[in-house]
């Protein structure tokens, strides 16, 4: 991911313009889901994202309300940067 899609100008531009981005260690998500100092929606979404996590590197796209829109595990993913950009934009068709 570092040297592939995330180093591509078009992917970076797509993310900057159309998305809010976050990265997190999958092992930290259960802690977020259990953290009672956080908003209940944040905790719920963290739990759901972790439940879908595909080891070792995974991308998920969610609607602004946290609804699941799409997933792209890095293992087995094809198409390089173009494929990643198509995944991002394709995930928005159900928005």
């Amino acid at each position: 991911m570092r040297a592939g899609p995330l180093s591509d100008s078009a992917v970076i531009e797509t993310l900057d313009e159309g998305f809010v981005s976050t990265w997190i260690l999958a092992k930290d998500l259960p802690g977020v889901a259990a953290d009672e100092s956080l908003d209940a929606e944040v905790r719920r979404i963290a739990g759901e994202v972790h439940g879908r996590y595909a080891y070792p590197v995974d991308t998920q796209v969610l609607a602004p309300d946290g609804r699941f829109l799409g997933q792209r595990p890095a293992n087995g993913a094809t198409g390089g940067a173009r494929g990643y950009r198509d995944f991002l934009t394709g995930s928005l068709k159900d928005l």
Binding site: F19, S21, W23, I24, A26, V57, Q60, L62, G66
Partner: protein, 271 residues
């Protein structure tokens, strides 16, 4: 009492100014001063996903033995290659020769290498924090790894270094693995299986530090760290938010959320 410049003084100035400018543009002279004594600390990896750091004999031994050279002097000019060229201004990043830093890493283990096997984000980048007549202050980021044995590799996330020269003498040196969980990757061939296994863990302390060195000036290093990350990774330009903040912003701005889930950290070489 001030007086108007004469033709002769103007001519003298005209002769002198190019000479001074040429001197200004020159790279700094070799460092002088006394050798610094550098102390090395290297703690065992405390936790990892698959426990490889304790299972593989060569990795276990690293944790028990510590650095190869716990303490030794450093010659004054040893890190001259890290001094900023004259054309570099405060707030700018440049790409120095990383070889002297890799040489320094051999104090941890002689297998230090400046070229990563599985990444092209190699070497060092440096950021000029300050340059004045008295002081040159530099923050450096280095990517390197260690070949511990033929099929055993130890890859720290990154090293962050601070170097300060005063009156051409190196007075401060630190080079350390940031203590972020997780911050070390390993690949090791398991004798019983014959394949190359991977693990990622947390090393709480891996640093080189000049003994009795002057403290560098207190500074907000966040802009320099960001600039150095950006010099290695184009994606560092993306406005990445912590997970809870990203969920809140997506909701507030009615934007979709892009969540990258990882086994190891994104913006370093620990995975």
């Amino acid at each position: 009492m001030p007086h108007a410049p004469t033709l002769a003084s103007c001519a003298l100035a005209a002769l002198l100014i190019p000479a001074l400018r040429a001197q200004d543009d020159a790279d700094p002279p070799p460092a002088s001063g006394e050798p610094l004594v550098i102390d090395a600390e290297w703690a065992a990896v405390e936790s990892s996903l698959y426990n490889l750091f304790r299972q593989v004999p060569e990795l276990k031994e690293l944790g028990e033995r510590g650095p190869a050279v716990p303490s030794a002097p450093l010659e004054p000019g040893a890190l001259d290659a890290l001094r900023p060229p004259a054309k570099i201004e405060e707030g700018e990043v440049w790409k120095p020769d990383s070889a002297p830093l890799v040489e320094l890493l051999k104090r941890f283990h002689p297998g230090a290498r400046g070229r990563l096997r599985f990444s092209f984000h190699n070497g060092a980048r440096a950021y000029l924090l300050e340059r004045s007549e008295e002081r040159t202050d530099v923050l450096v980021r280095l990517h390197a790894e260690f070949q511990i044995a033929e099929d055993v590799w130890y890859t720290p996330a990154q090293f962050e270094g601070r170097l300060v020269w005063e009156d051409d003498a190196l007075v401060t040196l630190s080079l350390a693995l940031p203590p972020r969980d997780t911050n070390v990757d390993t690949n090791a061939k398991l004798a019983e299986h014959g394949f190359l296994a991977a693990d990622i863990g947390y090393c709480p302390r891996m640093r080189l530090r000049a003994r009795d060195a002057h403290e560098g000036p207190e500074r907000d290093l966040a802009p320099a760290r960001r600039a150095l990350a950006l010099a290695f990774y184009r994606f560092a330009a993306i406005d990445w938010l912590p997970f809870p903040d990203a969920v809140a912003r997506a909701r507030a701005e009615k934007k979709p959320l892009h969540v990258l889930l990882l086994f190891g950290t994104l913006d370093d070489e620990s995975c």
